[in-house]
């Protein structure tokens, strides 16, 4: 004997009207046969038999309203009772999670902390003046030499040598199998790159700017970031998406946006935004080796800037560790990417006025190393966050929230955020300058928290 139950026909249905029976007692039904019609708040739908056998009894008359889901509505004599599965209407999971009573865990379980350290640089190591552009190129070249599965693809990365010359000479060294010019087709090649990563390759996907990656954001978030989780750990996505992020110069709103906060919100992604050339090289090498999808945010205005890069074998900087760029005692400024430079200039200027500033370079936005920030604020008791993007729901908002959560009692003044004005970036030179955050705005904010 098998009971036919009132089915749920949508994710939200709890009850419905049994409008019509197509069968009666004594009929023999087969699997797939339409046996009844049911009306829900959305639609009238047909119900098909799953089991086969003779109808012994109709339990709920047609026309009955408010029939609860899983109520027995008819009874069949099972044709083959042995193979009929024992269906239990109530989904009574064997392990009712006990944690539910206490509420879901609010935070990731605490894992034993691995101490992340920048590589030791021998005292006699040579420091080589290197542009950020070349540091990024060196990182890719070294990793491509090291691992045959690493390849670079994007618009103009090969023959043109990179729209910003970041991939200069890579085609010559590695050939067009591993340095691949794509059509202008961000959605397509981002998806293609993710598929190649699913299959075990390690693509570096260059976006000419992150602004264009909005066409590809579905693959970055839905395909790259989530698949490991949705596959129960079976399928990772070792890919690096990289390119210039943030404002360039006089290219106006569609070509000038900081995506730090956008991507830093997504579990499954790691988000890296280096400031100097050594970090650009060391963090990009780490990103290429990382088995997870990485969003690597460079800055167009900084490609040509030179910094010292230690001439050491295999310089890899760990992802997930902030760096104190300047020590100070009165106020902490957090910043990433280009804003670190402005923060350092502001610190220098403020030192002349007797204010001692500590500058924390966040470097990795996800996972955010708030311990380093919190330690700094416990010392300085004041916080200014600086970012190039918009303020609302931004990186600074997150930094401030974490500091309040972990060091509220240490704060001597409300934290302040420095960010772009809350408008699309204007084209006119004067308006553009007014909109973007810089040294002056940081100095003003520091003075305000010191007041």
């Amino acid at each position: 004997m098998t009971d036919i139950l009132m089915p749920a026909l949508s994710p939200t249905m709890e009850e419905g009207t049994l409008t019509k029976w197509h069968i009666k007692a004594g009929d023999v039904v087969s699997a797939g046969q339409v046996i009844a019609e049911i009306e829900t708040d959305k639609a009238t739908m047909e119900v098909e038999a799953v089991d086969e056998g003779e109808v012994l009894e109709i339990l709920v008359a047609e026309g009955s309203e408010g029939v609860k889901v899983n109520t027995p509505i008819a009874r069949l004599a099972g044709e083959d009772g042995a193979a009929a599965p024992a269906l239990k209407a109530e989904a009574a999971p064997a392990a009712a999670p006990e944690a539910k009573a206490e509420g879901a865990p609010a935070d990731a379980p605490v894992k034993p902390k691995v101490e992340l350290r920048d590589p030791e640089i021998p005292a006699d190591a040579k420091l080589v003046k290197t542009t950020i552009r070349d540091a990024l190129r060196d990182a890719m070249a070294e990793e491509m030499r090291r691992d045959e599965n690493v390849f670079l693809m994007g618009e103009e990365v090969a023959q043109y040598q990179g729209a910003y010359k970041v991939s200069r000479d890579l085609l010559q060294e590695f050939g067009d199998r591993r340095v691949v010019d794509t059509p202008i087709t961000e959605h397509g090649f981002a998806g293609l790159g993710v598929g190649a990563a699913f299959a075990g390759l390690k693509p570096i996907v260059e976006f000419m700017t992150w602004n264009f990656a909005m066409q590809a954001i579905d693959h970055i978030i839905n395909s790259a970031a989530k698949t490991l989780y949705m596959s129960g750990g079976q399928m990772g996505c070792p890919i690096v998406f990289r390119g210039p992020n943030g404002a360039a110069s006089r290219v106006a709103a569609q070509h000038s946006q900081d995506y730090s906060a956008w991507y830093a919100q997504i579990p499954g992604l790691k988000v890296v935004a280096p400031y100097d050339a050594a970090d650009a090289k060391g963090l990009l090498k780490a990103a290429i080796r990382d088995p997870n999808p990485i969003v690597f945010l460079e800055h167009e205005m900084m490609y040509g800037l030179e910094f010292d890069v230690p001439d050491v074998e295999d310089y890899v900087v760990p992802i997930g560790k902030a760096k104190v760029r300047r020590e100070g005692t009165d106020v902490t400024i957090t910043a990433h990417s280009r804003m670190v430079g402005f923060a350092l200039q502001a610190a220098e200027q403020l030192a002349g006025e007797g204010i001692s500033v500590e500058v924390v370079d966040i470097r990795t936005l996800r996972p955010l190393d708030h311990e380093t920030i919190v330690e700094s604020v416990k010392k300085t008791n004041r916080l200014v966050s600086a970012e190039e993007g918009w303020g609302p729901m931004g990186v600074g908002a997150e930094v401030v929230a974490r500091v309040i959560e972990h060091a509220f009692d240490y704060l001597d003044a409300p934290p302040l955020r420095v960010h772009q004005e809350d408008v699309p970036l204007p084209y006119a030179a004067n308006l553009e300058a007014l909109s973007l955050p810089g040294v002056d705005k940081i100095v003003a904010a520091v003075k305000k928290v010191m007041a």
């Binding site: 026909l9 599965p85 879901a104 293609l192 598929g195 190649a196 990382d290």
Partner: protein
């Protein structure tokens, strides 16, 4: 053979396949078993959904069984790669995934193929070469093109089988993918399962051109139309396309004409097509009835079929039981698999 197939990509070329397809009785029995397994499995999945044991969205493959089963004959399991959208249960069973794991994933239990974290629309099984199970319409086409890229990059002769529907065929990234696949001669077989309805919108109401096998013509990708209710026609068309792709001749499009008997998902009001239309297909074009006819001609006995029916019934019953008895994932699973620990 490849050339002959390539010529089909013109409006005047018919969808006829030159020779009547042949299969041994053993093959026919195997196809029958796989198709019946999918159908019985899906019927039970629908029932479990009705009982609240399966949540969210659930898209059943009933009516389309001959497509995945026919194509699978050309797949080198674990070497080639298969990818599809969210109507994926049939492909997984055809690919050789354990029905227990598939059903337990549908019920969101720890015994599921993704430990209950993916559900109906997001399932994966790397050992059988099944790369999902993707929930965003059309996304699997770019991803599958990337799977093909990886094969070519490695210099092997593996092929990527990329399934999508007539609805996805209007997504922009499909054409971005076609362009790159042909440009780089990637070994991708694009299988358009044209079941004639994108959710509730018929192909005539959604597509300026309805001959989907021609959709690659701007890119120089040949294509052909296949009767998706005839497992042998699908098998043979896939074999031709695969031979071409393995030989390095690039992508190919198979527009497989099929039909879905059930609604788009479970809550489908069925206002966009008539009951008569559905009944007519069930009566005259059913892929399982078709293979039964071939089996009768091949002198398979009622007893042989009944034995398979009973075997399948037991497999599905076991899957249903497993999917109910397997526990929900432990709360500690909440934070696993977000990142690969480096």
């Amino acid at each position: 053979m490849a050339k002959a197939a390539a010529q089909k990509n013109s409006p005047s070329a018919g969808d006829k396949i030159p020779n009547t397809p042949q299969a041994s009785k053993e093959d026919l029995l195997r196809f029958y078993r796989e198709m019946v397994l999918i159908r019985r499995f899906e019927e039970r999945a629908g029932q479990l959904y009705g009982m609240g044991l399966i949540g969210g969205f659930c898209h059943l493959y009933i009516g389309q069984e001959a497509v995945a089963v026919g194509v699978q004959e050309s797949v080198k399991q674990g070497y080639d790669k298969i990818i599809t959208g969210y109507r994926d249960h049939g492909h997984m069973l055809a690919a050789g995934m354990d029905p227990n794991e598939v059903m337990a994933e549908l019920t969101g239990r720890i015994g599921g193929s993704a430990r209950g974290k993916g559900g109906s629309m997001h399932m994966f099984d790397v050992p059988t070469g099944f790369y999902g199970g993707h929930g965003i319409v059309g996304a699997q086409v770019a991803l599958g093109t990337g799977l093909a890229f990886a094969g070519k990059y490695r210099g092997d002769d593996s092929v990527s089988f990329v399934y999508f529907g007539d609805g996805a065929a209007n997504q922009g990234q499909v054409y971005e993918s076609f362009n790159m696949a042909q440009l780089w001669k990637l070994p991708a077989i694009y299988i358009i399962e044209n079941n004639q309805y994108a959710m509730g919108t018929s192909i005539e109401r959604s597509s300026s051109t309805t001959e989907l096998y021609q959709r690659g013509s701007s890119f120089g990708i040949p294509g052909e139309q296949v009767d998706g209710m005839d497992v042998l026609a699908v098998r043979d068309a896939a074999a031709r396309a695969v031979a071409r792709a393995r030989a390095g001749e690039g992508p190919y499009i198979l527009e497989v004409k099929t039909y879905r008997y059930r609604g788009h998902s479970m809550s489908d009001p069925a206002k966009y097509r008539t009951k008569e239309e559905v009944d007519e297909v069930k009566k005259t074009r059913d892929p399982i009835d078709h293979i039964k006819m071939l089996l009768a001609a091949a002198k398979a006995t009622e007893e042989e079929l009944k034995a398979i029916d009973n075997e399948v019934k037991a497999i599905v019953a076991e899957a249903v039981q497993f999917a109910q008895e397997s526990p929900e994932p432990d709360p500690s699973e909440l934070y696993t698999d977000v990142y690969v620990e480096a």
